[in-house]
């Protein structure tokens, strides 16, 4: 809609229509001015109240004092003047481009509402339609869709189109336009640039180009990209925070795609693109960057196996980061067995530029209370290298490496493993595998239960049996003692008896022997008597025979010398005297001569 462009203000008002003394524009301006002044006199209390309520909410949201959102004087002026166009707002003290951009979208509806009760309806109607466009532009600035960008692009294009076509259709409206803005057709440089910037702020774009210069400062990186075809140049700037998150190290000659909002820097009137994210163009470049980053992180030891923690066994409290609309979440929940898991899902895009921010914030969110979770699970379905880019962001990788909660990553991959997965403590290939991984220790426990039950029973049974046996053995041992005793007594008794019998036997033997000896003795005695008598008789006989007197009677004589009997002549010497005995009497003789006989011998 052409007449939504305040830039129409630049055209000379159509001064040819005249009504009476005044030209139409002048007339209407007057009318408008009257109404305007009339409005100025009244302060809409209802609106003021509403504004204050809104301000309080906003202050809470931002975590600041209400007066920092907008001071009372500003709110009052809004309520008084009922601004319906940006310029009206800018007239109010306390509202400049910045605040307009921030709050315009919220303030306008409120003012419109209030203004709707005014009587100057036609005025307002035109303004309203105009404002609606303004409003949508202001609101859409906060959204980033290419459709909207396209609309803005078209708007810009048509802005510089043949103005004649636009002119003719606008005749009617233009009058109103003129009257509205006739007080404002003359801009100051500053207000003009501001107005331009408001327009530009609606036009977030993605631009491809080749880096032609890079100037890295402390808080900002200034760079420029050029069109490879005709060398047109676009100046860019990016805040350090966004630059780091983008993870692209700018180098001259790189082909990149930047996404951002154009603006004119008022102090030097320079047109540049305020870039929010940079990405490399082309898959080859992506691969190269991936390889470099991977090598760098590996060298630092971010992926070192020693750093990785084992997931706790029997995990219960799961922190889950994924898109609540992707295929991943479905797969995950389906394969998560019923083990009483408590899963807290923090939705995050897993693709596109927002993904990096959201993923990082999600990891940080859970890590604010690491004691509340057992495992941090990050999953997403498969995709191309480009769609997985968010998971190769250096800041995200470091955030994961620094997570106090053990991280389990199931980020679908084709050939290349994402760096985020490499940095995780445990990496599996799909969201389904992730769920399985979590269930593994539970399943094992479940299986073990059966074994444990059996072992428990059998072990205890064995114990009882052992005790029973032990008792039997002891009982036997005791009775064994008694029996042993008994046996010993019995044995001793037996031996005693045997001994006694032996003695008796021996005694009997003696008795017999004695008796027998008596008998033998008697018998022996008579025999002995007889023999003795015989012996005596024989002896007597022998004696008688041996009696020497008998021999003498035979005529033999005994020679005795000095009482000794002489048997041999050698015993005699001549001259000796001897006694000779005869059977009757004896005589003495003296030896005259001794003769030795030969017969003796």
């Amino acid at each position: 809609m052409p007449w939504s462009k305040p830039l129409k203000n630049f055209q000379k008002p159509n001064a040819q229509v005249r009504i009476g003394l005044f030209s139409l524009p002048e007339l209407l301006e007057l009318a408008g001015g009257v109404v305007w002044y009339g409005k100025k006199a009244m302060t809409d209390q209802k609106l003021l109240h509403r504004l204050k309520v809104w301000r309080a909410q906003q202050a809470r949201k931002e975590g600041v004092e209400p007066y920092r959102v907008l001071p009372n004087s500003t709110l009052e002026e809004i309520a008084r003047t009922l601004p319906l166009v940006p310029e009206d707002f800018f007239r109010i003290k306390g509202i400049k481009e910045g605040r307009w951009m921030k709050y315009g979208g919220m303030l306008l509806p409120m003012v419109r509402d209030a203004a709707g009760t005014e009587e100057t309806t036609s005025f307002v109607e035109e303004k309203t339609v105009f404002i609606e466009k303004e409003e949508s532009l202001a609101i859409r600035k906060a959204q980033k869709t290419s459709a909207r960008v396209k609309r803005s692009e078209e708007a810009v294009a048509s802005l510089f189109d043949e103005q004649s076509a636009v002119n003719t259709t606008l005749e009617e409206n233009e009058i109103e336009e003129v009257s509205l803005s006739s007080a404002r057709t003359l801009y100051t440089v500053s207000s003009f640039l501001e107005a331009i910037n408001v327009l530009l702020s609606a036009m977030t774009v993605r631009v491809k180009g080749e880096v032609s210069s890079v100037d890295k400062r402390d808080r900002v990186v200034y760079f420029s990209i050029k069109d490879q075809q005709d060398e047109s140049l676009l100046n860019c700037l990016i805040f350090r925070y966004h630059y780091d998150i983008s993870g692209v190290a700018l180098e001259v000659g790189q082909e990149i795609i930047v996404e951002g909002t154009p603006e004119i820097y008022k102090p030097n009137g320079r047109f540049s693109l305020k870039v929010q994210s940079i990405e490399l163009s082309g898959e080859g470049a992506l691969k190269k960057a991936y390889d470099e980053l991977r090598a760098k992180l590996e060298f630092e030891g971010v992926f070192a196996p020693e750093r990785k923690r084992a997931l706790p066994i029997l995990p219960e409290r799961i922190a889950l980061i994924t898109s609540n609309q992707g295929a991943a979440i479905g797969d995950f929940m389906m394969n998560l067995g019923k083990y009483g898991f408590t899963v807290r899902l923090l939705n995050s895009s897993v693709e596109g530029k927002r993904a990096v921010f959201e993923l990082i914030e999600a990891v940080r969110f859970f890590n604010r209370h690491p004691e509340e979770y057992d495992v941090l699970v990050i999953i997403r379905g498969g995709g191309s290298l480009e769609s997985l880019q968010a998971f190769n962001s250096e800041v995200l990788v470091r955030e994961i490496a620094a997570s106090k909660i053990p991280v389990l990553a199931g980020i679908g991959h084709e050939k290349d493993v994402s760096l985020a997965a490499l940095a995780a403590d445990v990496m599996v290939s799909t969201p389904t595998a992730t769920a399985r991984e979590l269930c593994e220790s539970w399943q094992k426990a479940e299986n073990s239960l059966g074994q444990y039950a059996y072992a428990l029973l059998s072990n205890y049974e064995r114990l009882l049996l052992g005790i029973r046996r032990s008792l039997e053995v002891k009982a036997k041992s005791l009775t064994g003692f008694l029996e042993g005793l008994h046996e010993r007594f019995t044995g001793v008794r037996r031996r005693l008896i045997r001994h006694a019998e032996g003695i008796g036997f021996a005694l009997r033997g003696h008795k017999e022997r004695v008796a027998r000896a008596g008998v033998l003795l008697l018998r022996g005695q008579s025999v002995w008597y007889e023999q003795s008598v015989q012996k005596l008789l024989s002896l007597e006989g022998k004696l008688r025979a041996s009696d020497p007197r008998r021999i003498l009677r035979l005529g033999y004589s005994l020679v005795v010398k000095q009482g000794r009997l002489i048997r041999s002549a050698e015993q005699l010497l001549s001259g000796e005297s001897v006694d000779v005995r005869l059977s009757s009497g004896s005589f003495e003789a003296k030896i005259e001569k001794v003769k030795r006989s030969k017969q003796e011998g």
Binding site: A453, L457, L464, I467, S470, K474, A475, L478
Partner: protein, 69 residues
């Protein structure tokens, strides 16, 4: 209380049996005393063991029922 009874009885019984083994000469009076003591212990232990076995059977049944679920 229960477990200790059984274990303690067993321990005492063990002591009695060892005493017999260690004896070189048989002290009949003492031996008889010990036997009497031992027999009492055995009776008590067997009774207690039976109790325990019964309880265990019940628990085992419960466990098997639970496993079946």
């Amino acid at each position: 209380m229960k477990k200790t009874n059984l274990s303690e009885s067993l321990k005492k019984l063990e002591e009695i049996v060892t005493w017999f083994d260690d004896q070189e000469e048989v002290d009949v009076e003492k031996g008889l005393e010990k036997v009497r003591e031992g027999v009492t212990l055995i009776k008590e232990s067997k009774a207690r063991l039976k109790e325990v076995e019964n309880e265990f059977e019940e628990v085992k049944k419960e466990l098997e029922e639970a496993n079946g679920n």
